[in-house]
């Protein structure tokens, strides 16, 4: 509908398939590769792929956050944790539930795909919107950051404040857990 102008172009189409296939392949590599260090590198690739998908969807802010927090901070944390842990060779072992788990995952994936593709998503008819509202939506999608920041401090201010308390709890919990043994 709104992003039709962008989505129909061939470059976007090609980059969508390239990004999503590489994201899925690297996600599979994360759980299949035995070496934990290599697996974490593939995890970074997965995060990058997700950031790419966000950009294609027109959510630049989310893509930026994804790059900063996941690709930047979390991957560094994971690599540090791996470097500080001994005996990394024996991790990511195969176990007897492997086949069962992959069957369940595959089954759920097929079920989700079939249900999502069979559903008629056009519940809200876009033609029924008044013109000024459509304009507003297009403006929001094209320039999402101001709208987002405004919503965080108006409609979602409670959730925003709750996240603040959550951070306090995280700091308190971390402090208490790293205390020295007496």
């Amino acid at each position: 509908m709104i992003s039709q102008g962008i989505a129909s172009s061939l470059t976007v189409e090609i980059s969508f398939w390239v990004i999503s296939i590489s994201t899925i392949l690297s996600a599979i590599a994360v759980v299949q590769i035995k070496d934990l260090f290599r697996a974490s590198l593939f995890l970074i690739l997965t995060f990058l792929g997700v950031a790419g998908l966000f950009i294609l969807l027109g959510a630049e802010f989310l893509a930026g956050i994804q790059l900063m927090i996941y690709v930047g901070a979390i991957s560094v944390l994971i690599i540090f944790a791996i470097l500080m842990t001994r005996e990394i060779e024996i991790s990511n072992q195969s176990h007897y539930m492997r086949i069962l788990v992959s069957m369940v995952a595959l089954g759920f994936m097929l079920l989700a795909i079939s249900l999502i593709t069979s559903t008629d998503w056009n519940l809200i008819d876009s033609r029924s919107f008044p013109q000024n509202q459509t304009d507003e939506i297009i403006a929001t999608v094209q320039n999402s950051i101001p709208t987002l920041s405004k919503m965080l401090l108006t409609e979602y201010v409670l959730a925003f404040e709750m996240v603040g308390v959550l951070l306090l709890a995280a700091v308190l919990g971390a402090l208490a857990l790293v205390r020295e043994k007496k």
């Binding site: 559903t119 998503w121 709750m162 971390a174």
Partner: protein, 494 residues
């Protein structure tokens, strides 16, 4: 909607704000005060402020706040009061136990208070994003609290809780995304209208498979929280490794908050009569599996905390009977099912905390959680034996206890709505459960123990234990007032 925070809105979340302020106060006091035993006193007495503020909100009106993200009504406030009582008793029974944490008692109490404030917000959230963040606010401090004792089993259960709550959040979010994608709204009150409109347009159940999948995933996400089968696997390990007062808090407050959201979602968004039957069958099956599994495995346990973990899974099964007895079914018009859940949870709060007062004291005294350490408890402390026995009677559901009244009420609602098989199942399960609950009573009263040293009770502990026992017996004889409150609470969301 251009709404900024108004004073009225702040008054509506005053209980939660005062909880967070109390938590901060406890940490600051922890910094300046050398005598840490004051912290327990401050945290427990300070809780009287949010309790008073919550009772103040019990005026029967339903008000929206924060652009419709919160709905402060009788129902929400009822659950807030349950959570607050649970928090109060948890803090009271932590008095001796928290000495283990030396200089970190302040953090311990603050994390309990913050987690409780998350559960209180959860009880009145009516919007998906707020629900999710309130859920995380209640779960993340719990993960730290479970890991609080620095021993291997505690760390193991902390990690298990963390990973599984992340998994359940992921399932929940996937479900919420599908529902949002289909309806275009995150407000659960608007969902029902949109779904009803789509039912007219479409032949499919729920108007589309994706919405059905979304609703099922949301239910699964919350089934983790209430530890019902088949999402119960985390409970025994986590309950065993966690500090004992936290185990009690998990088994009551966390479960109550989960039920609050499930009831709200079932009754305010997916209460359509066409869907009603499907819901009921799904929940009734889960309920039957949950109680049978919990009771059968509980029989074999030798560790009291693991036994209570399986007992709590079975109790979740009984409570879900009330959920299956939907008001939209024939014979369910008097809301006996949902009101029964509220009454049962209140009774369960009293019963479980009475038992955990004893479990905490015995585990401090004997340094063991095995059931055999309860042998000869009668000689060591008559009061503790009395509290434990009454609590067991209530958990089985024998008169004159609140457990009996709650079971009658919940199974009665199942009979009325045509779920006779489920009610019979529940009664049979109660008989099975009598075996392991009475085994504990037998061990306490009859078995001999060479250690006959008396167990000393502190004022706080006996206050917590005795008030719970008092409540169990009084509500077992005169349940009317709480049942009336439960009915009013349910009417405020239907």
């Amino acid at each position: 909607m251009n709404s900024f925070i108004t004073t009225d809105e702040l008054l509506l979340i005053a209980p939660e704000i005062s909880m967070v302020i109390l938590a901060t106060l406890v940490i600051i006091l922890d910094l300046v005060i050398k005598n840490k035993s004051i912290l327990n006193f401050v945290a427990s007495f300070g809780l009287l402020v949010p309790i008073a503020l919550s009772f103040n909100l019990l005026d029967g009106t339903s008000q929206f706040a924060f652009a419709g993200a919160l709905r402060v009504d009788y129902f929400g406030v009822f659950f807030k009061i349950i959570t607050l009582f649970a928090t109060l008793i948890t803090i009271l029974i932590s008095e001796k136990y928290s000495k283990k944490f030396d200089d970190y008692q302040g953090e311990y109490y603050a994390l309990i208070l913050i987690s409780a404030s998350g559960m209180m917000l959860l009880a009145s959230s009516v919007e998906f994003i707020t629900i999710y963040i309130a859920l995380e606010l209640s779960a993340l401090p719990l993960a730290a609290l479970i890991t609080f004792i620095r021993i291997r089993s505690s760390a193991e259960s902390g990690i298990k809780f963390m990973v599984l709550s992340a998994l359940s959040s992921a399932i929940l979010l996937y479900g919420m995304v599908l529902v949002y994608g289909f309806t275009g709204t995150t407000y659960i009150e608007d969902l029902s209208q949109i779904i009803n409109r789509s039912l007219i347009n479409s032949e499919l159940t729920f108007g589309g498979g994706a919405l059905l999948l979304g609703v099922i995933l949301i239910t699964c996400g919350f089934a983790f929280k209430i530890s019902s089968a088949p999402f119960h696997m985390w409970a025994p390990d986590v309950y065993e490794g966690a500090p004992t007062p936290i185990t009690a808090f998990l088994s009551v407050a966390s479960k109550a908050a989960g039920f609050a959201v499930i009831l709200r979602i079932v009754y305010s968004s997916f209460s359509n009569e066409q869907i009603g039957m499907d819901w009921s069958v799904l929940i009734a099956t889960l309920s039957a599996i949950s109680m049978t599994l919990g009771n059968l495995i509980a029989i074999q346990q030798t560790n009291i905390k693991r036994l209570f973990a399986y007992s709590t899974i079975a109790q979740a099964g009984y409570i879900m009977v009330g959920l299956a007895a939907l008001s939209s079914l024939d014979g369910g018009q008097d809301n006996a099912g949902p009101a029964g859940i509220l009454f049962y949870l209140f009774g369960y709060l009293l019963t479980n905390f009475a038992a955990f007062t004893v479990i905490t004291l015995v585990s401090i005294n004997t340094n063991s959680d095995s059931i055999s350490s309860y042998s000869g408890l009668l000689k060591r402390s008559r009061l503790l034996t009395l509290i434990m026995t009454i609590s067991m009677i209530s958990l089985i559901g024998l008169p004159p206890s609140v457990g009996f009244m709650a079971k009658i009420y919940i199974f009665g609602s199942a009979m009325d709505t045509g779920l006779q098989w489920l009610a019979i199942f529940g009664v049979l399960n109660s008989v099975v459960s009598a075996f392991y609950y009475l085994k504990i009573v037998k061990i306490m009263l009859i078995d001999e123990n060479e250690n006959s040293e008396k167990i000393q009770l502190t004022t706080n502990m006996s206050l917590a234990g005795l008030s719970c026992v008092f409540g169990i017996v009084i509500l077992g004889i005169f349940p009317g007032s709480i049942i009336e409150v439960a009915h009013r609470a349910v009417e405020s969301i239907i």
